[in-house]
Amino acid sequence: MDTHILPTRLYVGIFLILLTLTAATVTASFFDLGGRLNSANVLVAMSIACGKALLVVLFFMHVRYSPRLIWVFVGAGFFWLAILIALTMSDYLSRGWLPLPTPWGT
């Protein structure tokens, strides 16, 4: 943990950026950015969300000033979530590749 005391204006600045990004993501949702299943919209929304999360993690949670071990823990947590989602989705996305009579989901 850090003995770094971050200045108030930094916290307030991050807060304002977070509010701006919130406004941005709401605004973006009103536009059809294309892609299958609205994928471009999803990409934008998730990127903004990741950006917001990163700001909270790095500054509000002091990770920017924390030892490397903390970075590894944080990274591992999100990476493991990615494993869960990716491998599970590998099943659902590839189910339609075989010509079976009644695919699930229809």
Partner: protein, 213 residues
């Protein structure tokens, strides 16, 4: 003020590092706990996109956005509370903690209003669910996720507020100063994490497809 070093630690620094690492280890478990819900959500949204989009449009965008701002604000006040502890300032600690609690309660209040609306609109999954349009069953699936995810999030907020109340009482007694403020720091980490969960829940539930067709 004497440093409160537990007997099994070598020194205050080891105790502090252990506390922070311990809370992060716990937050990793929380990532995976919510992660199960996010995984299920991903599966069904990709399968039933139209139904999910339709359900999403029935969520109150204004209330959701306001709540997002409130929660982000509460993260700010929490961070400032921890900063006040680092600076050994008792008064601001208490003020910012109380503000955080207030904002947290405001969030829950708005959530309760939203839940009330959903109940009136017959959108609560189960016996009383009713949907006039197509894909009714899949829309009910969307609302199952809406209630499961926001409900679990709200539960974590309630626990967090309880934690903050305890923290405020301790802070009022001047327990946290620049040389010892571990409980403040780790509670802050927990609170920010709950904020991050909402940062992802909000677009996934409220902003699926808001564009004007």
């Amino acid at each position: 003020m004497a440093e409160h070093v537990a007997h099994h630690f070598e020194d205050a620094e080891q105790q502090r590092e252990a506390a922070t690492l311990g809370m992060w280890a716990f937050l990793i478990t929380e990532i995976m706990f919510f992660g199960g819900l996010f995984a299920g959500y991903t599966v069904y949204r990709s399968t039933y996109f139209d139904a999910f989009a339709e359900g999403s449009r029935h969520l109150d965008l204004v209330l959701g956005t306001v709540n997002t701002a409130i929660l982000i604000g509460s993260s700010l006040t929490m961070a400032l509370a921890v900063q006040a502890a680092q600076r050994s300032r008792r008064g601001p600690q208490v003020v910012f903690l109380l503000l955080t609690i207030l904002l947290g309660l405001a969030f829950l209040g708005i959530k309760a209003v939203e839940y009330g609306h959903k109940f009136e609109q017959h959108l609560v999954p189960g016996r009383f669910f009713s949907w006039p349009g197509p894909h009714a069953s899949n829309v009910q699936l969307f609302f199952s996720f809406y209630f499961a995810m926001t409900g679990m999030h709200a539960l974590h907020m309630i626990i967090g507020i309880g934690l903050l109340i305890w923290l405020t009482i301790q802070a009022r007694r001047g327990r946290f100063t620049g040389s010892y403020y571990n409980p403040m720091e780790v509670s802050g980490l927990y609170w920010h994490f709950v904020d991050i969960v909402w940062i992802f829940l909000f677009p996934l539930l409220y902003l699926i497809d808001r564009h004007v067709h």
